[in-house]
Subunit: 458 residues, 3 copies
């Protein structure tokens, strides 16, 4: 059986989607290439094969993994007919992106602009944490297009993101020497705007918030809360995972990881509390979408300045503002953007990662401008640090937006019509997964429903 | 739209509850006050800004967070129509309580009875762990009233708990120098009896175990098991989080955290096994309520004596007894208390935290009286230690019961009638959350169901 | 009320199963014996009561616990009518097995073939981790018979597994001095083939894959994914938990834990990616059974060789192959084995633990034969190491298969007819749990359904 996807006529009888040719066929050579590149270009970083290295980094690596695979994976299961795909494609694409990132981020850090003598990428835990960060950025991008792309389109969109991520990371940290320890700019804003630009290019009419299947059930909202709670708990580890780098600490003379963790915890406490207040104020009831997402905005927004001594009160202020900003985004800004510029953002990553990421970048610039003396050692540009912070933010947004639009265009051009989802197949696990029962009164598997409701409303 | 809650007549047509005025309005100034107090009264404890401090405490902090937010949060989702509120209000109130506890517990420890020079509270990881412990006590109290209070009533009830918790903690540990490393008394018994006393005052007829919605579904019992399993796994961290305190270890000359962890693991193994035996013996089948709760009683009961050298066999005995006691509580004691003194205890916190907490206090007193010589260094009162243990237990119960009753009365007096839930609105997410569908044959949103079943039976 | 289970006639009216006599009665004396043995034969290993010991092992202990209780527990909830039993019996039997393993594995290591002076078992964290490993092996065996045994039969089958596990572990590690740090052979292959042999003996016609209840629902597949994702994240800890043993490291002169962790992470990344490719290639769609299981095969297969310097490329190759092998097992091999030799394997442990475990053993033998010079210090037999690896594998398979068949036979012979599940009671929580509603159109509680469908098809 080969791929059979009939054109979008009114009464198609067979709406089969065969992943053998559409997915397995292009994936197989990618795996072979990865095997070859790993064999030729990687080795262990045996200078780090010590107890101290494992004790310093491994727990943080597991926490970052929880963020990526449990956190983003289950948060995206909120769609009542797309939970398999959410957690499954999150799992698959995160692994593929991490493998690519070990090679690409590793090459950028160690070979292209590094000093690796033998031209080999040396694998150790910080590199794997960086690969996890890259997967986090990719999963944020995934959130913008969740439910609207085929697995193959999604895979290529995210594979294209990795080199841009690596180059931007190099510019932010090495070229501009900007502060962004938790990745407000380089992970959250980058991932969000890359995904949003791609969504503008790839996701057309009928795929937006009024799609009948673009919604939650009681059960899917509960599995999504698993993601939220684990993200919330382990966010301090995300922001602080690489903050104990011995060299960095030596430069500064203070222990940045301590401040990273304290600041992030307090910002998250503030964001949760302010989100509940804002959600109740806006809607008169609590809104699960707000609670699942905006409670986390404190972790995003504190990211750039997390290792600065902004004081517990400063961290709380950033968190409270981020929660309100993000809730406002879900309530008012996202609907406006969808109406005005056709920005269709399934998970609202603009509200959780985009705007709070920019807020985080601005907060770090402001904190740099206020020039807390104790932070001076980490302000590599002294009094001018705030300028480089803004530069890093601007470059990140530019690369993400242009890169996402180009990558989206490329994916669009390379997708045969039969590999492009029409709205009637969106937000629906049954198209790509075995043994998913149709919803009552619907027959997506065998064709458009006879009663006229085929999952499209807008 | 303003709050509209019609009086409890037979056929109300609009049963709207507007959280804008009832919740967001009082919460907003609280957030502003928190921001001000944090700005004025907190700073980092920079003497702890070291790698060693982070490695000693941070992992335990994350485990305590898992207990509070995943553990208690999901355990309480067992109610089939109240899962959003369980995990959501657990999330919100835990964050608010932690922020308050940083200030109040911090002030009690460092300023009121401490030696903080500048009058500032110094934030570090042990203080945040203590704030998590305080939130655990509050979530235990929440369990007693789960489903029966409005979000605003719940919030104020738990905000009032924090100062009492802080004072009692000071009395137990500093005044009486009692052993209670895992908080059998100061966290579990305190939280349980505070909540139970409040429930007696606040939760009237019709709100008890025979309420039609006070029950589980197959799915909600599964999400509750997520809470149980994570609580069970991380309980050794809860009991041992602060047991490696360098000063305390120096006093004792032995490494208490090691014994804390070993004892708690073995007690929990025993409680799980004995709970399954007791549940089968009592009911002829396994009962999910027993399995979700009593399996954890070993962690509660070993708490006070966890850092004593009671030997693996002693820990196993405590655990086995706790499992049987707790199962017996659920099967026989709780129904009796509900029938005799109208004690309505949604989660059965009396069975899981109340009685096992008292058992834990008594176990530590007994172990002290037996005066294991090896433990002498941590017995600050030598042979008289058991007296101080009993004193700490008695004072804890008194403060919790009187405090809970007074706080409950205060909440009751300050609640306008329109902000008090009648039984027909209890155990129901739809009252406070957007987009929750009504159960079949029920119309809680638009008024009492015409078929006469509106969720009340008792 | 006593146990009443009528013989398998066409129209039984009462199909009650009473766990009071069948389960609680035999369990009570077991608990008493455990209490006695713990009191007499265990003490703390106080030479390990140090900060360093706790920091070296405790986090890994919690991760192994997550694997056993969250991982295996929730993975097995995929059966739509057996989720309570999956997570509940996993919880209970794991605890019971761990208590037994502390005694039995402890005795084998320290007393029988050890040097414990006083004849006491000294409890510390490595012994508890070993107890967790033993529970993991038992849970793998559970997977082969999931849904088909009574709780009592299951309990005794797994209790009988522990001494065999302990003896085999001693042979593999101490007698043959084989490499098997992550237990590909001694945990995964052992547990799988023990369970499969028992299944051949215990699970008759009508209990196989075509049983009407031997399947998932949308919700149960999601709770199973919780298990999968947590297993996947914490597998590096499972393989590396005991790899930092100071003595072992001293022998080798390199830090094996570092390589264990890196190799396992990369193998798991590879297995996830290749599983998605293979699933799509075989079925044309993604298959939840493959994704939930085969993605983990990389962790199994890398286990024996994880602390060898097989390079990142070697680890990736092992992972990719394991994912494909395991998916092939689910798709083609398992149905063949069920058809040809009546091997009924509910969770497909042959595909996830059996074959990948053997692959892992062979991979370590091959790596030993290739004699990476850097690994020589851990190759206790030098150039002959590969022979001892194969010997360890063969002995493991023999003990597991013969032991499982004998244990299964013993359980079968000792089970009264009334304590043996007929197919009409299999895969059904309602038989053993309170308050489980019957499926639509079915009346398992009160007897065989009148419409003729009573859960059996094959």
């Amino acid at each position: 059986m080969d791929e059979v996807l009939l054109p979008l006529t009114g009464h198609r009888k067979t709406m089969e989607w065969n992943l053998r040719g559409a997915f397995a066929a292009p994936l197989a050579p990618i795996i072979v290439v990865l095997l070859g590149l790993f064999a030729v270009f990687t080795k262990y970083n045996d200078s780090n094969a010590t107890d101290a290295h494992v004790q310093r980094y491994y727990v943080f690596y597991t926490h970052v993994s929880i963020m990526v695979f449990v956190g983003f994976g289950f948060l995206m299961t909120f769609l009542r007919r797309y939970s398999y795909s959410a957690v499954g494609l999150n799992f698959f694409t995160s692994c593929l992106v991490m493998l690519e990132a070990i090679l690409v981020v590793g090459a950028v850090q160690q070979v292209v602009w590094g000093s690796a003598a033998a031209g080999k990428i040396e694998v150790d835990l910080p590199l794997l944490i960086d690969a996890g960060f890259c997967a986090a950025a990719a999963m944020i991008s995934f959130g913008a297009v969740l439910g609207k792309l085929s697995p193959t389109q999604l895979t290529f969109l995210l594979l294209l993101e990795v080199p841009l991520y690596a180059i931007n990371q190099h510019l932010v940290f090495d070229t501009f020497k900007a502060l962004d320890i938790g990745g407000s700019m380089s992970i959250h804003a980058f991932g969000a705007y890359y995904g949003l630009a791609a969504s503008l290019v790839l996701c057309g009419p009928g795929s937006g918030s009024s799609h009948l299947k673009n919604g939650a059930s009681y059960t899917s909202d509960m599995t999504a809360m698993i993601g939220t709670i684990f993200l919330w708990i382990f966010w301090p580890s995300f922001n602080g995972a690489l903050a104990s780098n011995p060299a960095a600490v030596a430069t500064g003379g203070v222990q940045f990881q301590f401040h990273c963790i304290i600041n992030t915890i307090i910002a998250l406490l503030g964001a949760c509390v302010s989100t509940f207040a804002a959600s109740a104020a806006y809607d008169g009831k609590f809104n699960m979408v707000h609670i699942q997402n905006a409670t986390l905005a404190g972790g995003v927004a504190i990211g750039s300045a997390a290792n600065m001594k902004i004081l517990p009160g400063g961290a709380l202020l950033v968190g409270v503002l981020a929660g309100v900003l993000s809730t406002t985004g879900y309530k008012y800004i996202a609907p406006t953007l969808e109406a005005k510029i056709a920005l269709r953002d399934t998970c609202g990553v603009h509200n959780l990662h985009g705007m709070p990421g920019v807020l985080g970048g601005l907060a770090a610039a402001a904190a740099s401008a206020l020039a807390f003396s104790a932070n001076e050692p980490i302000l590599r540009h002294g009094k001018q640090q705030w300028l480089y912070q803004l530069l890093a933010l601007a470059v990140t947004l530019a690369i993400a937006l242009v890169g996402g639009a180009l990558a989206g265009t490329l994916v669009r051009l390379c997708s045969p019509a039969r590999h492009t989802l029409g709205p009637e197949l969106m937000y629906e696990d049954g198209v790509f997964w075995e043994e998913v029962e149709a919803e009552e009164g619907e027959d997506w598997h065998g064709g458009a429903a006879t009663n006229g409701t085929n999952g499209i409303s807008m």
